[in-house]
């Protein structure tokens, strides 16, 4: 390891690995630091991703596909189930292996990777970020760089140290718990979503199959709900009712920032990607694919800035992200806020209307449009997402 690199990436999740890879592919020197001993573990994720989300970055490999998805099951509080079929919608991943593979592609492109390296401060030179301080094997170290890419996930502390406002309002933070359980006899190609006050107010409850009757089962709820009743209790209640004897293989807690992207995701010598930049799709809470996209854009721009010796070039990242996904997320966020206010009755009515659409014509877009038929202002947003 050297004591100076062109680019340092903090955090080796999907966003960090893609930032490291796309920067390294341009022949600049890249170091990626990860605080945990393992890349990709622990897995704090439902692991669902669309096919397109994967294919932009890596060839599909059975090593990290736990289940192939071709159906959604949307469940209203009164038990009405709306099934939406897709040709080939996506996957439930084995992220432990998937994140490893993403990191490998970064390494193959030339990035160096160091685990158990806890970044705890930044270096500055003339008001510009110029490297990181980190703790490694009990020793405090410093490494210099021209650009730091913060991919430190939901915590997003690195960006704060650089002066960017990265705090998530607790109401936008979905407090989440999830178990991976065995002996869950659900369809292995269907993602199950449950809505309503009983299971997950201001959020949703999920069962995502992982093959051979294993499944990720969990929920995320807004901090405003978690404040009154912890996510943990909702999970316990659901499991006691539905699968009281299911053996639990893993249990994790987590936070999903479901908001629009931060106002600023770049500054002198610093760029933010993935959860750290709040690049999660605020409607679905999915952040694997969008984080990888953010990482790709940031890594590419950072590499160009180094090669062309134009430090200010990194400031074009905000616009590039907003054009690709950021603006879309603003729309998703408005839809989310609309849905948050739905009563159980409303969810039930939507399900009843959606069930009248014949299954072969039932698309997610049509279900959402049905959902928001009484909210004309939101309808325009929906149209933008699904029609334009």
């Amino acid at each position: 390891m050297k004591n100076e690199y062109d680019i340092i990436v903090v955090g080796a999740g999907p966003a960090g690995s893609m930032a490291a890879r796309f920067a390294a592919e341009q022949g600049v020197s890249v170091l990626m630091l990860e605080k945990d001993r393992d890349v990709g573990y622990p897995v704090r994720c439902g692991e669902a991703i669309s096919k397109a989300g994967v294919e932009e970055f890596i060839k599909v490999d059975s090593k990290w596909v736990a289940a192939e998805i071709n159906k959604f099951s949307l469940n209203a509080p009164d038990g009405s189930e709306v099934i939406v079929e897709f040709g080939d919608a996506g996957y439930v991943l084995e992220r432990r292996n998937f994140d490893y593979e993403l990191a490998r592609t970064a390494a193959e492109a030339g990035a160096e990777i160091l685990t158990r390296a806890y970044v705890n401060d930044l270096l500055f030179e003339n008001g510009k970020v110029s490297g990181v301080k980190h703790e490694y094997k009990g020793e405090q170290k410093e490494v210099k760089s021209k650009i730091v890419i913060a991919a430190d996930g939901v915590e997003s502390r690195v960006g704060r140290w650089a002066g960017l406002k990265t705090v998530t309002d607790f109401r936008d933070m979905e407090s989440a718990v999830q178990i991976t359980a065995a002996n869950i006899p659900v369809d292995q190609n269907t993602l199950y979503f449950y809505f309503g006050q009983q299971v997950a107010p201001n959020g949703y409850f999920w069962i995502f199959p992982k093959g051979r009757n294993k499944a990720n089962i969990g929920l995320g709820i807004s901090g405003s709900v978690n404040k009154k009743k912890y996510a943990q209790y909702f999970l316990d209640e659901f499991m006691n009712k539905r699968f009281p004897d299911a053996p639990v293989l893993t249990k994790i807690a987590g936070g999903v920032p479901c908001s629009i992207t931060l106002d600023k995701i770049s500054g002198p010598g610093i760029m933010l990607v993935g959860d750290a930049a709040r690049q999660v799709n605020p409607l679905s809470g999915g952040g694997i694919a969008s984080g990888m996209i953010g990482g790709k854009i940031a890594g590419t721009i950072a590499g160009e800035a180094i090669k062309q010796n134009k430090p200010d070039h990194i400031l074009t990242y905000d616009k590039a992200w907003n054009d690709r996904l950021g603006k879309r997320h603003e729309t998703f966020n408005r839809i989310k806020e609309g849905i948050y206010n739905f009563s159980d009755d409303k969810f039930n009515n939507i399900a009843h209307s959606a069930l009248k659409i014949p299954i072969e014509k039932r698309t997610l877009g049509k279900v959402f449009t049905t959902a928001l038929i009484n909210n004309p202002s939101l309808l325009i947003d929906i149209a933008k997402v699904f029609v334009v």
């Binding site: 502390r157 705090v167 407090s175 901090g223 978690n226 912890y230």
Partner: protein, 75 residues
Amino acid sequence: MELKYRQAKTGKLMIDILPDKCDFCGCCVGVCPEDAIELKEAEIYIIDERCTNCAKCVWSCPIEVIKFNKNGVLF
């Protein structure tokens, strides 16, 4: 692991983290307006000098690991 119950400097309302129950997920860190929570791979504590007792971390922890300490007792 050694139990480290911390107390905020302001000393009014108290926040405790129970590190033996923590999953080190970072949810609380993401909502802390003061950057007052230090979180390593398997270690967590509140930085006393920064905490204002705003309780946002308490509200967001999914598994009830940060709690109000009404007694204000420093362990």
